[in-house]
């Protein structure tokens, strides 16, 4: 009568503490990566373009910045255009606006970007690609 109960208790005691051993492997460390918010992304690229020193650096930054599933914020665009001015490359400045046109979802959003950055364009004398090469067809 007593014996089976005793063996069960002993077995339970000798069994390794299951929960303590297994639980660490169940935590997914991959989920611990912090998600970069849009504001952080913008801040990162604004500082990148402010510190970019040559054309290679600017174009590399643009490639990376436009490779995400988002349209860079106007602050980033402004910093990028100013970086293009700093490295004296007009074509890259025009190309940035062409890039926005490619990235936005609707034409009205592109118009919003143009309106937002109108001051900057007039200040630097940037002509858009569609103004340089109007569609003939």
């Amino acid at each position: 009568m007593m014996r089976p109960a005793l063996t069960t208790a002993l077995r339970a005691a000798t069994r390794p503490s299951f929960a303590a051993r297994v639980s660490p492997t169940l935590i997914r460390f991959a989920h611990d990566h912090a998600q970069e918010s849009f504001e952080q992304f913008s801040a990162r690229y604004v500082s990148f373009f402010q510190n970019a020193e040559d054309l290679f650096e600017v174009q590399r930054g643009l490639n990376n910045c436009f490779a995400h599933d988002l349209v860079p914020s106007p602050e980033v665009i402004e910093a990028a255009v100013k970086a293009a001015r700093r490295v004296n490359d007009y074509s890259t400045a025009v190309r940035i606006f062409e890039g926005i046109k490619e990235k936005v979802e609707k034409k009205s959003q592109y118009q919003d970007y143009l309106l937002e950055l109108k001051g900057l364009r007039e200040e630097l004398g940037i002509v858009l690609k569609e103004e340089l090469y109007p569609e003939t067809a």
Binding site: L55, F56, Q59, N88, Y90, T92, A93, V94, K129, Y133
Partner: protein, 182 residues
Amino acid sequence: MQAAFRLARHSASLRASTSIRCLATTANPAHVASAPATSASSSTAKPSIIPLSNVEAQWEKMSTEEKATVYEQLEEAMKKDWKLLSIDEKKAAYYVAFGPHGPRAPVSKPGDNFKVFAGTLALMGVAGILFYAIRLASPPPPRTINKEWEEAANQRALEQKMNPITGIASEGYSGKGFVTHK
């Protein structure tokens, strides 16, 4: 790959006075500018000022030295206030850097779609003609392929009690037997 480009640029910059670090993917004429360094060392005759007014039309025909000259001119021009640039200079700067030439040349010319469409139609026509020509030249179908023959075959199958469990001679059979014609 990137390292190879950098190495190439580095060695070129030793020879050419103008060296710009830029992405190889943008086909920036910095590569063009440094490319002719091997021949430029032998021939010192450099093309003088090239008008930037119609670079788009001339670009394909220009020699490498001329392209380098245009690029250097543009480089100088772009250092000024951009508001002072003429529209021709702006267009030339954009065209040289990102215009449809070299790796950015359009894959198909206008009118190519029509050629593909017409070619496909022509091939389909040839196939149709071939089909009917073969049908004309071939003998008529065998005498067993007609409704009468197939019904006769059904009768014969029933006489012989062919396939009595699941087939034509079985109880309550509702299939068509050997008849394949409507």
